[in-house]
């Protein structure tokens, strides 16, 4: 590591190289970057990426290829920072902090497993499936993906290639079920009284998943997004209300540090 100081293990921000860029949906780009450091990440963790904006952008990993030391970052262009990121090309450098945060806990063997993703929240679920599909034996896997329209069902083909059942829902009915992921989630919970769910997506989707899993006996992990400052736990910007006493004198915990993945029981989601 850089500049070892006494007993501290110094980390720092560092540059990584974009080796591939692909447009995967309108305003959605996946950048494959080379970085053995980032490729040591757990699914659900994120990189805090420098942009011309005033803050870095937290981006979770869409794929983690430890063997080749590469990760994927999927960015939706919604503002000056993400637009700049979407315009990076192969050969460009990104400055990153990370991997940061607490990712998903691995699935438990023997329990059916549902991965529920919405929009730009889909990527970390792919990383999770890729990481654990062949190392943890579960009797059944279903991937439930939602988006506003067919074109935004990102990574659906990637999931398909992993040979798992993929169910989709779109707000406009242009692919899969007309509506949200909720009906597929409810249906799946009806069949599987026990099991495990990992979900990531817009807050409205996560709140809905939070509510429908209230009386379900399985384990639900939710990967949250929140406007973030430093990314390393210092500024207390990216907090979420939790049941257990959080850090720094409140019921809030930091999405960047205690999260972004939380067990549903830890959260107070209204």
């Amino acid at each position: 590591m850089n500049g070892g100081k006494g007993m501290h293990c110094m980390k720092r921000d560092y540059d990584v190289v974009v080796v591939q860029r692909r447009v995967i949906a309108p305003q959605h780009v996946e950048l494959i970057v080379e970085s053995p450091d980032l490729a040591s990440a757990q699914p659900g963790q994120f990189a805090h990426v420098l942009t011309p904006g005033m803050l870095r952008r937290p981006i979770s990993f869409s794929r983690i290829d430890r063997a080749h030391g590469q990760v994927g970052l999927i960015v939706q262009s919604v503002g000056i920072g993400t637009e700049w990121l979407c315009n990076r090309q192969a050969g460009d450098r990104l400055n990153v902090l990370g991997p940061l945060g607490r990712g998903f806990s691995p699935p438990e063997a023997g329990q059916p497993w549902a991965l529920v993703g919405g929009g730009v929240g889909i990527p970390p679920l792919y990383a999770a499936l890729q990481a654990w599909q062949n190392t943890v034996h579960v009797p059944q896997v279903v991937v439930i993906l939602g988006a506003r329209a067919a074109a935004y069902l990102i990574m659906a083909d990637d999931f398909g290639r992993l040979g798992v059942e993929v169910r989709t829902a779109t707000d406009d009915g242009s692919a899969g079920q007309h509506g949200t992921v909720l009906s597929a989630v409810t249906e799946w919970m009806g069949v599987h009284r026990e099991g495990q769910m990992m979900a990531c997506g817009p807050t409205a989707m996560l709140q809905a998943v939070y509510q429908v899993t209230a009386n379900w006996s399985g384990r639900t992990q939710l990967a949250l997004e929140q406007r973030m400052g430093c990314g390393i736990g210092a500024c207390l910007a990216c907090v979420v209300a939790t049941r257990s006493p959080g850090t720094h004198g409140s019921q809030y915990q930091r999405v960047c540090t205690e999260g972004p993945v939380f067990d549903r029981e830890e959260l107070v989601f209204s």
Binding site: D13, G229, C230
Partner: protein, 308 residues
């Protein structure tokens, strides 16, 4: 070049770059990303008598060249700070400044009194200028008499060096500065964030959970330089300047406006090591503009121009 800064009551900074309160946690968070010992000092997050929960999220919002925040001074309270954070701070080989906050004069007094017994705390920064809390905070910073009362109460219970952090959200910040100096403040730090607001167009509501927030970042710098200038030429105590500093040139600008040292904050979120880089570059930047020492630079622009 010697970058040391001698401040009142024997407070010595090894260089004039201090991490600004609220941007550097309580010390340990950034310690694996930046060599804390290399800094002139760190100002920890605001500390109140009891735990404060902070404001509902979202707590930050980007603006052109700025950052709006509404953290709301979330902190564990002075007892937890002493128990849980001072042990780490004991391992830090630089100046530690405790930023103190309260809803009442007595609360400020209480925190100052508790910290008086902590040798690790080298100085206090009395925060009467946070725009993100409903009572206390900025209200003390908008009224010279209330500001005087807070500083007077703190002075009664501590002999540590004390600076008061003043607000830009008043017509005449120097009046507040003069008032706290009269009450025994050893230094003035300026400025805190400028109150502001943004609307989330999609959500059709204020972008911040706390509705309004404090603006920091480079957008703030001209406002801050002007206020440091106005305060420095009116008070006889050292001014610690801050507001949007991103480079050694920015530091020099504050020094020339009258600051003895500076605090650096928002840029750390983008570049955790920027403060250390600034410290490294500062001597050559001073030399480039013809200064042989920090002291020569401090206040160099105060004499120039016609003070209206």
């Amino acid at each position: 070049m010697n970058l040391g800064v001698n401040l009142p009551r024997g407070l010595v900074l090894k260089n004039p770059i201090v991490a600004a309160s609220g941007t550097f946690g309580f010390g340990p968070e950034y310690s694996s990303y930046v060599d804390v010992d290399a800094l002139g000092g760190i100002a920890v997050k605001g500390i109140s008598p009891d735990p404060w929960p902070g404001n509902p999220p979202p707590r930050v919002w980007e603006t052109p060249a700025g950052l709006l925040n509404s953290i709301g001074l979330q902190n564990p309270g002075v007892d937890a700070f002493i128990q849980e954070d001072i042990p780490f701070l004991n391992s830090v080989k630089t100046v530690v400044i405790a930023n103190i906050i309260g809803h009442t004069v007595d609360e400020y007094r209480h925190v100052a009194q508790r910290l008086q017994r902590e040798p690790r705390i080298d100085a206090l920064e009395v925060n009467i200028s946070c725009p993100n809390i409903k009572e206390g905070g900025m209200s003390f910073g908008s009224d010279p008499d209330q500001a005087f009362a807070v500083m007077h109460a703190v002075r009664e219970v501590t002999d540590k060096p004390v600076m008061v952090k003043v607000s830009p959200n008043v017509a005449e910040p120097w009046v507040i500065a003069q008032s706290v100096v009269a009450a025994g403040a050893d230094m003035v730090s300026a400025i805190n964030t400028v109150i502001g607001m943004a609307i989330d167009l999609k959500a059709r509501r204020p972008a911040l959970g706390g509705v309004t927030g404090g603006l920091s970042g480079p957008a703030l710098k001209p406002i801050a330089v002007r206020m440091v200038y106005e305060i420095a030429r009116r008070v006889g105590v050292p001014v610690i300047g801050m507001g949007g500093i991103q480079s050694a040139e920015d530091v020099l600008e504050f020094l020339m406006a009258g600051a003895k040292a500076v605090m650096v904050g928002t840029i750390t979120f983008q570049h955790p090591t920027r403060m250390v880089e600034i410290i490294r570059e500062l001597p050559s930047v001073l030399q480039r503009y013809g200064f042989a020492s920090l002291d020569e630079a401090t206040g160099a622009a105060l004499a120039g121009g016609v003070a209206l």
